[in-house]
């Protein structure tokens, strides 16, 4: 690094003395070697930020608004063991190993985060960096980021031949030494105790050199031992890799970065996201752009330490190893039950015999009917990006050695994650016995080639298994739902009037500017019963020319949630409101959601209105949008609205309006269907909960009224109209929603299954043809079959997603399911963040207000889209999981026989779907007394072949199953279990 230091005085307004040096390095990226020269300014005005330092607190730097940042490190920092009051300086490795400790409430206050450490951490892991940044942002733990690299005295230059790591370690020690001298000097006249500056490091060499410099320092473990509750804290430290010189098996090593980059460029390696099968933890698939069908990844060795959701690089295996997807149900706990967590290195084989047998599939047969089922197989050769997060699970009681319970020494135990797709995680703990039977949150830290299972660490216990609070929290954590109460800074963004907020009485009030007064319109809302967050309301009235005026009025959330506020970023990060059976986790504070923004009847509310003029045949003559003020005349439930329509005696204008709406909605729907919109199905059930105790009472399938469809049609229309408008105004940055056409291959299996089992044909050439052929897939004896097929067809489709218009070509905008060329979400801003963005863009498109630049910033919007897509998916999963949990609870004390359909057939079992509860689950034939044979070509299992009790269990067959809930012996986990009752399988 060149070092011509030139002293000079910088800008008069800052008055700081700066000197400049040059940072010279080689950037080696994508095979290029580029010399980079950057200026690096060194200054003397970076504060130490100790409230005890009289010099630095007098001379605080100001930002452009003139605000100062007050000193962060407290006057009375904590003590521990023999260390008096001290500020902590952890090195990078300590943050990597113990971020959970840093976040823990019981210790680690007054911490100095060095810039060197922060930069190193950022290169190691962006999520860790973000967590550390969040810690330093929140005041409570008093983490101060000290920019040592920019301070003259603490800047360290790389010496000839010195490695980057050594240089950084030296920088850390230099900064510690400086802090000590600085505090000694500045506090020489002070009567208070000068706090120590304590370096935390696990690197013995670094500790030795620090001691030589006179810097107080210690090892992380030694420090934690002096803290209260050290057992818990020690469990939270990431385990060091043990000396594994004797390991006898190993996963294949990952390829080198350069080989990966080269291979992807040439095209013999492929990158994609690994998706582990729900029924077989040893089978994964990766969809890559180069191939139409996903690549199969079979077996532990091929999956090679990758986990569900990881971005991996795979190499296709030779054609002789191509296979059909597994036809077996393989569950991890049944196969690896006896693995020993303490010493899994002892075993010689990477792939155990049981696993080998579980996977032993004969290579693809040359059976012509099965030809399309042969898929390319591949192996993982590198993991580009880990999808690791915290996982909820429980301790495998069998993995605890008995002497560990007695001695309380630290032992390894297995954590079995709730998510079947995640392998067991090895964690080290001293409190194994205490943790059994609890829901545990743990993180994955590493996965060595020499370790069969990933290594992780304990974070905290949520509570007892099956306790409602613990299970609900587990579910929220598992689906990454942010359920913490809103922070004060978010609540501060709410109107100060609180619940007393009213639409200003005077129309001269500035808040009325640009708003239309629609208070006289006969507006009403139609929602599910008990709905509190009323997003939308409707009206219709005949016009003198014979046409109709129809209006959709949406809560004006963007009036209350302004861009770049704490509330906005919180909503953006939550993305959506999450509905669980007994709980709603709001995206926006409840004051807005259920009061100020909720379009409740009889009160005036701000709204955003879309108003159309339509002919009686629902042809749109004119569309306009306006901010407005409305007063809803009535809040109906679907059922009430239906009754009102059907009640011939009611002839008031409001009822007439609803009737007009219904008629127009039918016309709209007919047009949509003619254009090829799909009528899809997903199992929807409702769990009735007794309100007091919120214990589930019973489960019913959701009913649908004509009025459901009425509301839906107009919401679709509004969304489509808004999408077109904002795309016209912001071609590069409109927030839209698309639904990609599914590749035809996705339907191949289902079409074949229908052809073989039901002699029905499925045509997925276009959405129109698919819709028509789905309509034709009927069995007059079995009306539910059609719904079942729709459910299965839905699973073949792609997920709809939010996107920013500038990132796709216009033909890609199409919404396949709705058969419209453009679509967005605009009608539920209370519970979806995408709608808030659409609101702001629409408001700007009609010149109501200028558009905030963050809504024009394509990369920023893309990040928003990515997040809300993920949140949206997670919210759906969480909702479903919640229903499943409650069904389990509801069935706890009942056993009953219900109708079910065979939905999937494996060689050793099958999956049934129970319409009544909307749940599905496997039935194993592993322990069956009856003999069975797998007829793969016909998707059937033949029971008791050749005897008089011969039965064929073919796909789609309706059977009677016995439903009960069982507690799994090894885990204490309650799950719904099925047993085939008719035909009877013993």
């Amino acid at each position: 690094m060149a070092t011509a230091l030139k002293r000079y005085f910088a800008d008069g307004s800052s008055g700081a003395t700066l000197s400049v040096s040059q940072k010279v390095y080689v950037r080696s990226r994508r095979g290029k070697a580029t010399k980079i020269v950057q200026e690096h300014y060194l200054r003397t005005d970076i504060p130490c930020s100790s409230q005890l330092c009289p010099i630095c607190s007098l001379n605080l730097p100001k930002d452009s608004s003139g605000a100062e940042r007050p000193p962060i490190l407290s006057r009375e920092p904590p003590t521990a063991g023999s260390w008096g009051p001290h500020y902590l300086v952890p090195d990078t490795n300590v943050f990597v190993k113990a971020m959970d400790l840093m976040e823990h409430k019981s210790a680690f206050y007054d911490v100095i985060v060095l810039q060197t450490v922060l930069d190193e951490l950022r290169n190691i892991s962006l999520p860790l960096y973000n967590r550390l940044r969040a810690l330093s942002q929140s005041q409570e733990k008093r983490f101060y980021v000290f920019h040592n690299e920019f301070r003259q005295e603490t800047f360290v230059e790389r010496q000839q031949g010195e490695s980057m790591n050594d240089k950084n370690d030296r920088a850390i020690r230099t900064a510690c030494a400086w802090y000590r001298v600085h505090l000694d000097e500045t506090m020489s006249k002070s009567s208070e105790i000068v706090p120590q500056v304590l370096l935390l490091s696990n690197d013995n060499d670094c500790l030795r050199k620090a001691r030589e410099l006179g810097v107080a320092c210690t090892n992380l473990d030694d420090y934690v031992r002096f803290l209260p509750d050290c057992d818990t804290l020690l469990d939270m430290i990431v385990a060091e890799h043990g000396g594994d010189e004797t390991h006898k098996f190993a996963y294949p090593e990952y390829y080198s970065t350069s080989r990966i980059q080269g291979g992807i460029q040439i095209g013999n390696l492929h990158q994609g996201v690994l998706n582990i099968s729900q029924y077989n933890y040893l089978e994964g698939s990766v969809t890559v752009p180069s191939f139409d069908r996903p690549l199969l990844i079979l077996g532990r060795e091929s999956i090679n330490r990758a986990m569900h959701g990881d971005v991996v690089v795979v190499e296709v295996l030779p054609e002789s190893e191509w296979k059909t997807p597994s036809t077996k149900i393989v569950e991890e706990d049944n196969i690896t039950k006896n693995d020993n967590a303490e010493d899994d290195e002892e075993e010689n084989l990477l792939v155990t015999e049981q696993e080998r047998r579980a996977l032993a599939e004969e290579p693809a047969t040359q059976n012509s009917s099965a030809e399309f089922k042969v898929q390319r197989t591949a192996k993982v050769v590198s993991v580009i990006k880990r999808n690791w997060r915290s996982y909820v699970g429980h301790i495998d009681a069998a993995s605890i050695s008995s002497d560990a319970v007695a001695t309380r020494r630290q032992t390894s135990v297995f954590l079995i994650p709730m998510n079947r797709r995640i392998p067991k995680i090895k964690i080290r703990t001293r409190r194994a016995a205490d943790l059994v039977g609890k829901r545990i949150l743990a993180a994955v830290d590493s996965w060595d080639a020499s370790s069969r299972y990933p290594q992780g660490h304990f974070i905290r216990a949520l509570g007892d298994i099956e306790a409602k609070a613990a299970e609900t929290e587990a579910l929220l954590l598992e689906y990454d739902v942010q359920y913490q109460p809103f922070t004060q800074s978010v609540l501060d963004c709410l109107p100060i009037e609180g619940h007393d907020w009213k639409v200003p009485a005077e129309t001269s009030d500035p808040r009325w500017t640009g708003r239309e007064d629609l208070r006289d319109l006969l507006v009403c809302s139609i929602d599910p019963p008990g709905c509190q967050d009323i997003d939308d309301a409707l009206h219709a009235r005949p016009l003198p020319n014979g046409n109709f005026e129809v209006g959709v009025h949406i809560a004006d959330v963007s009036h209350f949630v302004k861009p770049n506020t704490a509330m906005d970023s919180e909503a953006s990060s939550r993305g959506t409101t999450v509905y669980l059976v007994d709980k709603r986790i709001d995206m926006l504070p409840v004051l807005l959601g259920t009061n100020l923004c909720s379009l409740m009847p009889y009160v005036e509310r701000f709204a955003f209105s879309a108003i159309w003029e339509m002919t009686p045949d629902a042809e749109i003559v004119n569309t306009r949008f306006t901010k407005s003020v409305i007063r809803s005349k009535e809040a109906f439930s679907y059922e009430q609205a239906q009754l009102r329509i059907d009640d011939k005696s009611q002839t008031d204008p409001l009822t007439q309006g609803i009737r007009d709406l219904l008629r127009l909605s039918k016309a709209l729907k007919a047009k949509r269907m003619a254009a090829g919109a799909l009528n899809l199905a997903s199992p929807e059930v409702k769990v009735n909960v007794e309100s007091e105790t919120s214990d589930p009472m019973d489960v019913e399938v959701k009913k649908s009224h004509e009025t459901n469809s009425l509301v839906e049609e107009f919401m679709l229309l509004a969304n489509i109209s808004v999408a077109a408008k904002i795309y016209e105004a912001f071609p590069q940055s409109a927030m839209l929603r698309r639904h990609g056409a599914p590749p035809k291959e996705n339907f191949e299996v289902l079409a074949d299954q229908l052809r073989v089992c039901k002699q029905l044909s499925l045509n997925a050439e276009s959405s129109k043809q698919l819709a028509d052929s789905l309509d034709a897939c009927k069995d007059s004896n079995d009306p539910y079959l059609n719904t079942l097929i729709r459910i299965m067809a839905t699973r073949c489709m792609l997920a709809a997603e939010y996107f920013c218009s500038g990132t796709m070509a216009e033909p890609e905008f199409r919404h396949y399911g709705l058969a419209t060329h453009i679509y967005t979400h605009w009608t539920s801003p209370i519970r979806r963040y995408a709608d808030i963005v659409a609101h702001r863009q629409l408001a700007s498109a009609i010149a109501y207000e200028p558009l905030h630049e963050s809504l024009r910033d394509k990369p920023k919007l893309e990040r928003v889209c990515q997040n809300i897509n993920q949140r949206h998916r997670n919210a759906q999963f969480a909702g479903r999981a919640s229903v499943e949990y409650y069904i389990g609870q509801a069935l706890k004390n009942h056993e009953l026989d219900v109708e079910a359909y065979v939905m999937k057939v494996f060689s050793n079992g099958f999956v049934v779907f129970v319409p009544q509860f909307g749940i599905e689950g496997p039935i194993h034939l592993r322990d069956a007394k009856s003999s069975f044979k797998f007829d793969e070509a016909n998707y059937a299992l033949i029971l008791n072949e050749g005897t008089d009790k011969e039965e064929t269990l073919q796909l789609f067959r309706k059977i009677i199953v016995h439903v009960e809930t069982v507690v799994e012996e090894s885990t204490g986990k309650r799950k719904v279990a099925f047993r085939s009752q008719n035909p009877k399988i013993e």
Binding site: M1, A2, Q22, V24, Y25, V26, R27, S28, R30, G31, K32, A33, K35, I36, V37, R158, Q160, G161, M164, Y255, S256, T257, S258, R259, Q261, G262, G263, Q265, I266, N268
Partner: protein, 270 residues
Amino acid sequence: MPLSIAEENYLSTSLSQKPPCRPDGRDPHTFRPLDAAAGILPATNGSARIRLCDGGECIVGVKAEVEVCGGKPVEVQCDIAGQLNNSPLQSFLCTTLESAVRNALPPSHLSISNKYTYKLYIDGIILDHVSHPLTLLSMTIFLALLNTRLPTLITEDNTDENDEIGLPQFESDWQQSRLLCDDWLPPLVQLAVVAGRNVFVDPTGEEAAVSDGGILAIWHQSKVVGLRTVNTRDSSRQVFNVKSVATAVDVLTQTSREVENALRKVVAST
């Protein structure tokens, strides 16, 4: 400004007489004083600037980029102030110097792996020139190449069969970069003009205009490895005495050595 016929005659006579008389009183084998600096542009792999006392000035920057083997290893381009691109002078300078550097360059010095190699982009800017810019540009390129450094490759120990598809990785520490010219020197191209039996190095614009013609010599590894006549005046007359060509080779051998040493001192001092 063109010379009048009388001026031309006077100059021509003074240069051809024995001993010759140069307008600025210089010895025929003496260079004019010049101002040279190396390593002036930190963002390049190597750079240099030379300024002559007549105002002529040249800046050269060298960039080394990683490319797939097979292309040409060196590209010389220059931009001459006040002239359009693709002028005859420009292409003459570029092709002459490009081939000189290419022939002198030991091929192994740019090699990275059997698939990748460095390619040197040598770009010159001639801000102003009164005399023929060839010598000026050549000296500046020489100086720039002398302080050109290349990032070092991090050699990976896995030498499996797939290695040739791997992209190269480089050491991030610039201090560990290596000199391009560690055990060889770049070539120098010098221009001399001939008037009668006399040979003049570092000719001024006027001297070139009245001379019989120019001779360029490519100097590399202590010897002249290429020789060419150059038309330095507008008229087509270009007749050399054989003896003066031999003299020119001697003179250029001598002066090139001196120039080379002087320029190496410039780099050594920075």
